[in-house]
C-alpha cells in the first residue's frame, strides 16, 4: 500500500508492474487515471495549478486507502496524485487496485477516487483566456461519495 504526492509524471505500466510484482494471488488489476481536460465549465483551460496541504494530504490519502482495504476484498492499492503546473492531456492522478477478482477491485478503485475527490486536500486553479480562477467543488462529487455511505451491499 502506498500513496504519493509528486510534481513529476508517472508511468502507469511501471507502477502496475511494481504493484503486482511476484504476487501470484492477483487475478485482477483495476486502474483509474485522471487527466487534465482543455475545457471546464464552458471555458478553455490553458494550464492548471494543483495545490495541496503537505502532511495532511498524505494522511488523508492513507486513511482512504486503509478504509478501502477494510471494506473490500483486495490485496493492495496505490494512489499517485500530481501537484504543481499541469497542462491539458497531462495525467493528474492514478488509482490502482489489485485483488483476486474484478468485482472487489473495481469497487475499491471507484471508492478510492470518489473519496479522494471530496476528502483529500487538493485544489485546482485554472488559467483561462479570461484569467485565473479556482475550480468550484462539484455537487456530483458529493453525490458520488454519498452513494458509498448508504450502499450496504458491499
Amino acid at each position: 500500500m502506498a500513496v504519493r504526492v509528486q510534481t513529476t509524471d508517472f508511468d502507469v505500466a511501471q507502477e502496475i508492474a511494481a504493484l503486482r510484482a511476484s504476487d501470484p494471488r492477483v487475478g485482477a488489476v483495476v486502474t483509474f487515471i485522471g487527466t487534465v481536460r482543455d475545457v471546464n465549465a464552458d471555458a478553455q483551460v490553458l494550464q492548471m495549478t494543483l495545490e495541496h496541504y503537505p502532511g495532511m494530504t498524505e494522511k488523508a490519502l492513507d486513511a482512504i486507502v486503509v478504509q478501502a482495504r477494510q471494506r473490500f476484498d483486495i490485496y493492495d492499492a496505490l494512489v499517485i496524485h500530481r501537484v504543481g503546473e499541469l497542462r491539458p492531456t497531462d495525467q493528474i492522478v492514478l488509482v490502482a487496485v489489485t485483488g483476486a477478482h474484478r468485482g472487489a477491485a473495481f469497487d475499491a478503485c471507484r471508492f478510492i477516487i470518489d473519496y479522494l475527490k471530496t476528502e483529500a486536500p487538493f485544489w485546482k486553479k485554472e488559467q483561462t483566456p479570461e484569467g485565473a480562477r479556482w475550480v468550484d467543488a462539484r455537487t456530483t462529487d458529493d453525490e458520488a461519495v454519498a452513494r458509498w455511505k448508504t450502499d450496504t451491499t458491499t
Binding site: 495545490e51 495532511m56 494522511k59 492522478v93 475527490k117 483529500a120 486536500p121 487538493f122 485544489w123 467543488a137
Partner: protein
C-alpha cells in the same frame, strides 16, 4: 508545580490554503486568543471580527472546513496551545 505559570492566553498557528490564502494575502500566522481555552469556532470568530476578506470568507454558511493538526474537526472541537489550525476551501483534486 508552579502555579504562577497558569496560561491566560492561547496561541495557535493558523494556515490559509488555496483560495483563502489569496483572499487573505497570507499563507498563515500565529493567532493569540485572550482566553485560556478555545474552540475552532472561537478561532473563526476572532478572524472574522477583523472584517474585510476575513469577514466575507468566514461568514456563516460559507463552505470552509477546518483541520487541527492535519485532521478535519467540527467547529466545536477544542484547540490547544501551539495547534496548527488550517482553513480549507472545498477540495477539488482528482
Amino acid at each position: 508545580m508552579n502555579d504562577t505559570a497558569i496560561r491566560h492566553t492561547l496561541t495557535v498557528n493558523v494556515v490559509y490554503l488555496a483560495r483563502l490564502r489569496e483572499a487573505f494575502g497570507s499563507a498563515g500566522e500565529p493567532l493569540q486568543l485572550a482566553t485560556a481555552t478555545a474552540t475552532v469556532n472561537d478561532v473563526l470568530t476572532a478572524l472574522a471580527s477583523r472584517g474585510g476578506a476575513f469577514a466575507t470568507e468566514l461568514a456563516a454558511g460559507r463552505a470552509v472546513r477546518v483541520a487541527v493538526n492535519h485532521t478535519l474537526v467540527s467547529r466545536e472541537a477544542r484547540v490547544q496551545q501551539g495547534d496548527e489550525v488550517a482553513l480549507l476551501p472545498p477540495v477539488t483534486g482528482g
